[in-house]
């Protein structure tokens, strides 16, 4: 179900947005419009929807409009045209009172440089959202304390923010956003100011929190590795528009244009690509009932030295090597079953490449990719896996 739907959204910074909108329709570039009208195009022609419980990542270079897009969702920035619908309600035309309720109850926000209130203790920072709702002191402290514990800061509740390390400060930021129990979390480069190790552990923590809380999260980052790690889907932005939306793999394997291709060029593919992305179609395969001669012929036809064997239900039975098949054929044996080597390397569809590499390096056979029900989905051969690491080009015909 779509939690947030953004339609034809545009944001023009300046006094005369209508001028810029007109030129945009005539396909003028952002730079030209700035020169001609003095208006800055922040966003244009933005369309996307975010599903309930999804982590949706907005990614792009500096100035591409990520923060602007994020701030339109809780109306910290007023969109110029278009609509944003949250739970079926159009918030672009909503009254200030409704927006305030939205910010209080439904949408929490985490900031890049934490933006903690320096004059308030950790607990009072976390309780801020509850305080502005007019919840009594005892109640909000109790609730805030729970969240402080959830993010692992028990014992620090009476400290001031500047006594905390960066990672801890951002936990406070996260706790403050979670305290109102919002459905939606907006996170603007929430981990960018942290050093790499802390950053990685915060990402892991967010993911584990998310599996418990199941929020709808929009996460802004300019780091592709981060985007691929935490995002269910990624929207790549450039110059105020979205150039591609898809899963990490879709974007890696099928970049929409040169810009995307350039962007994804130096990502660490082994972490992102999965078996599914680099496997070949399971062809040829031989059925268990087929017998050694068929297996031998197929291997000859395809110039391979081993072949996967499947049952009638297409479940993986094992592998047969050419030598054994030849021997059996000579001895006039009709049964393939006796030849099948059952202990073959297998991985599942979503095994990341990085975990496949050791397996593939150890075995002399191709690696089978099996679905949850043990049916054979594809096969991995060394060449294709290496190719995937370089170009992301696995093809299942």
């Amino acid at each position: 179900m779509s939690k947030i739907i953004v339609k034809n959204l545009a944001k023009i910074f300046g006094e005369h947005p209508e001028k810029a909108l007109k030129l945009l329709k005539e396909d003028f570039s952002k730079d030209k419009i700035l020169k001609k009208t003095g208006q800055t195009v922040g966003l244009f022609d933005i369309n996307f929807s975010v599903n309930e419980g999804e982590i949706f990542v907005l990614m792009g270079l500096s100035g591409s409009g990520k923060s602007t897009m994020l701030r339109c969702i809780n109306r910290l920035i007023e969109p110029t045209s278009g609509t944003i619908t949250i739970d079926g309600e159009d918030i672009t035309s909503a009254e200030p009172g409704i927006i305030r309720e939205l910010r209080r109850k439904k949408v929490g926000m985490v900031f890049q440089r934490f933006a903690l209130f320096p004059h308030r203790t950790v607990l009072d920072n976390v309780a801020y959202g509850l305080e502005v709702q007019g919840i009594s002191k005892a109640q909000r402290r109790e609730k805030a304390m729970q969240i402080v514990e959830t993010v692992g800061l028990k014992g620090w509740e009476n400290s001031m923010p500047d006594q905390l390390s960066g990672g801890m400060q951002q936990r406070v930021g996260l706790a403050r956003a979670l305290a109102n129990n919002p459905d939606i979390l907006l996170m603007d480069e929430a981990f960018s100011a942290l050093d790499p190790l802390i950053r990685k552990s915060m990402q892991d923590e967010l993911l584990s929190l998310q599996s418990a809380l199941n929020k709808t999260i929009i996460f802004v980052t300019h780091d592709l590795d981060e985007a691929m790690k935490i995002g269910d889907r990624i929207a790549l932005m450039n110059d105020g528009t979205i150039v591609q939306i898809g899963t990490a793999e879709e974007i890696l394997t099928n970049p929409a244009n040169d810009y995307v291709e350039k962007f994804v060029e130096d990502v660490d593919r082994t972490k992102v690509l999965t078996a599914e992305g680099v496997m070949k179609a399971p062809d040829p395969v031989v059925f268990l009932k087929d017998g050694p001669r068929v297996a031998l012929r197929l291997m000859k036809e395809h110039g391979i030295s081993s072949i996967f064997v499947i049952t009638r239900e297409r479940r993986l039975a094992g592998i047969v090597i050419a030598e054994d098949a030849l021997q059996a054929a000579k001895e006039q044996k009709e049964e393939l079953k006796a030849l099948v080597i059952e202990d073959v390397p297998k991985v599942s569809l979503d095994t990341p490449l990085i975990d496949i590499i050791p397996t593939i390096a150890e075995t002399q056979f191709p690696v089978a990719v099996v679905r949850d029900d043990h049916t054979l989905a594809g096969i991995l051969v060394k060449g294709a896996v290496l190719g995937g690491m370089v170009r992301g080009g696995g093809n299942v015909d």
Partner: protein, 278 residues
Amino acid sequence: MLTKLPIGLWVEWIVDWAQIYLAWLFDIITKIIEVLVSSIETVFLAVPPLIIIILMFILVWFVANRKIAIGTAIGLYLIYNMRLWESSIETLALVLASTALALLLGIPLGILSARSDLTHKLIMPLLDFMQTMPAFVYLIPAVLFFGLGQVPGLFATVVFAMPPTIRLTGLGIRQVPVELVEASDAFGATEWQKLTRVQIPLALPTIMAGINQCIMLSLSMVVIAAMIGAGGLGTEVLAGISRLDIAKGFEGGLAIVIMAVILDRVTQSLSEKRKIKI
């Protein structure tokens, strides 16, 4: 050459007009100020000087530190010893009352100027004008509106001492990092909640600096205000000047300096304390 523009005349008209049509307002203001100043005086004069000195010693030790407290006690005793106690209380009442009024007007104006660019643009030139105009000039409308005495002295003092309060309050609020303002908005705070829970607390050190300057400027008006009968230590100094009585003039001046130093140190350590918290 062009004929001289009758600028002075215009101002005269305005003052004339105000004298006639706003007389009721000036009467009310006069009453309020008189009550305010005289009640401060009464309270301070009702208590024996030595007891006040001891109380001040304790109070200052509490809000500042021991060193300043000892200095305060010595300074106040010196004033008492110079037989300037009553004049000093008069001056103190005037300074406290005008500071209170200047803050009462100045802090809201400062907040307003920080929150609206239009107000900012309107207020800033006015402040420049108020600060560069020689303080003596304010004595004229003060006398015309309020006659002679403490009330016009206080009026002139407020006009002279208010600008830094407005400026520094506005500056303090504008200096609150935008991210924090944004964070407050993002959690659905109302404008009032944002102001009272985020902006003012964070601007407090700067606002305190404005309050400190306001007090200092009020004290610096003491002698000038005495020219229109505001009384207090200023009168002592003026008498010293007009009779070329060096001893009297110096003693009066010294008492003013003592008060200035005490008030300055105390307000400063108040704002220091604030800063540590923030």
